[in-house]
Assembly symmetry: D2
């Protein structure tokens, strides 16, 4: 197999990329500069040596090749010591950070659990979560926020984690909360399902009238 095909085959394994777009990538790279290709090769090659999993929240972060163990968020003493947000993946953590409304710490489960998952404790970072809660509890943790997507996998993961951490929650007298539900940006009432309308109604907010 030749070079073009080998690169094509690698790109085909990228998430969401079919044979046609993989081919486009190859021709795109052929049309870019040597500098672009060299930069890409370098970044890809050094990725593993420079990017580490944080020993505290388990997100990926750029350790710049140093023997860093914790990411900048986990090392930041000025964040809210009282709250820990549990998310499924790095991309969820990124979305929350981007919204700039949360100031506490995080924990990345690494996966969600499907309804037919047989060994859920091996699919997500279960033991690591126990250690993380214990460590945070010693530093003043009061609330665990379960920030999972509102779909069947997210709900299933949330329920499993709630059960799994309940001994710790009782032991350390923690509060556990889940993300609020109702209308999200762009939601049209006409097209909303009964569950969303129910949540929106139960969670309605009183307005302060001037």
């Amino acid at each position: 197999m030749d070079h073009l095909n080998r690169l094509h085959d690698l790109f085909k394994q990228f998430p969401g990329i079919g044979p046609r777009q993989a081919k486009r990538f190859v021709y795109f790279l052929l049309g870019t500069s040597d500098a672009f290709r060299e930069a890409l090769a370098k970044e890809v090659s050094e990725l593993a040596s420079r990017v580490t999993i944080c020993s505290s929240c388990y997100r990926y972060f750029d350790s710049k090749g140093l023997a860093a163990h914790a990411c900048s968020t986990c090392k930041d003493p000025n964040r809210d010591q009282e709250s820990l947000m549990i998310v499924a993946k790095d991309v969820d953590l990124d979305a929350v950070e981007k919204s700039r409304v949360y100031r506490g710490y995080y924990f990345v489960l690494g996966n969600t659990l499907s309804l037919v998952e047989k060994e859920p404790e091996t699919k997500i970072r279960a033991k690591e979560l126990v250690l993380a809660i214990e460590a945070r509890a010693k530093k003043g943790l009061k609330e665990i926020i379960l920030a999972l997507s509102l779909n069947s996998e997210g709900e299933n993961t949330r329920e499993y984690v709630e059960q799994f951490i309940s001994p710790l929650v009782r032991a350390y007298k923690l509060k556990v909360s889940i993300l609020g539900r109702g209308l999200s940006t762009g939601t049209e009432l006409e097209y909303s399902d009964a569950e969303t309308i129910k949540n929106a109604l139960l969670g309605r907010r009183q307005e302060t009238m001037m």
Copy 2:
């Protein structure tokens, strides 16, 4: 112009129907039974004489040709006299009723207000709303729920109505609330905008741990 074209032209004016689907409707009707066509013609023809706008909530309802003034919901004395939900359109009211979680009364504005609306008071049923609130206030109304979609038109309509009814709200000491916001069914954290994440976080719910 012939018969087929005249019917085609009428169907083309239906919402969301282009020339092609209009033509399909005509051929579909040609392929149905006499009974189907007669039923359709009868229902369309009698629509205006049998369907009336409720004098209380302004939704359309089947008055069966009688001189009824109020729809069955408005006439039902067992609904919650303390709450009035303001919606933009009949379809929104239908969606809320279908969710079976609301037991109070309704008011249909008839429209939403765009940001550039010059005469908002003529676009929605403003005067009728005043009369409806006054009538409900005499029967024990305590809370007005603004149930508008979470998009720019919905938000704009909500803000206009809040301001517009504020004298009445003060006079009758009413509570005004808006639908809760957060994750709606199917929302994935990864793809949520900052506003939705913010709402979901601020409106987070404490779980009761067993």
Copy 3:
């Protein structure tokens, strides 16, 4: 069941119309004028009495309530007596007429045949086709054009009809042709399947160079 629901139920049976759009149709009609609704009711009601199936090509046409038997195309003596185009449905005939490139006569099969069709001769107008070809043959017919869509049902229908009419074709010494194949408007070479490229290549046209 009330009036709104009855009309809603009728619209739900229209092709491609779900519950939501059916509801929109009802509210749309409520918002139109009496004149619009009366016109629609009248056209729908009179459809069967005024629109007839042509006894020659089997398309629907507006007979204006008169005892007409043939449509204007079939009655037009100035069309090309030498060719007969066989199409699956009225909409196909409409599409060809709209292109203004064909001047011969038509025959509408009424349906296409799926690959698992057990009694194809009852699904399409088989006997009527025999009579139509015989009638046209007496008036100078020389070519039958099979104008079916290029998908599996269209191909299957084409093959069945070819076999079915072959005795007549031999008896009257007719030519049978099928629509040309190749690039259609908008086709991009990059995304074309092998069959289309093959057809486009085999059917390539020589350019006259100036």
Copy 4:
């Protein structure tokens, strides 16, 4: 800017890739093996040194680092010396090769020409095309096939190239042909535009009846 962001920024420049999918690529790579990343880095890095533009047809091909000038197709003496197919891009050539119906040689223009192109002769490989035709003419070339997409850019390119090569075509007494037009795979008659129906009708094929 850190490592994750630098890689993210490079992927964002890939065709059709937005910020979200670029981020997914980064996390995907973090989740793959060292071997996968090393292979990708190597292929990307060596791409330019190993992949060359063929000096004859101007497609990209794997020269394996050797000083090869012509691709395997151009070097294959068993292909049809009498025909040369002109395509816009490498992906078009790939699509034609995949269909396995063409056995002649190719020439890749490198681009298509938009209707407002001011200097078409600099946008496509115009001078190279002249040389390629002259070289092929000496080896028995008889027909040039213009294989462009059937959209406005493709048509514009085809017309420009036809004019541009007309002196050569006359000088060498070549035949110029364009891809056949009509129904392409999946085309439904009902939804076809007048141009496609016209092409399908003009290019109709006579069937051999058994």
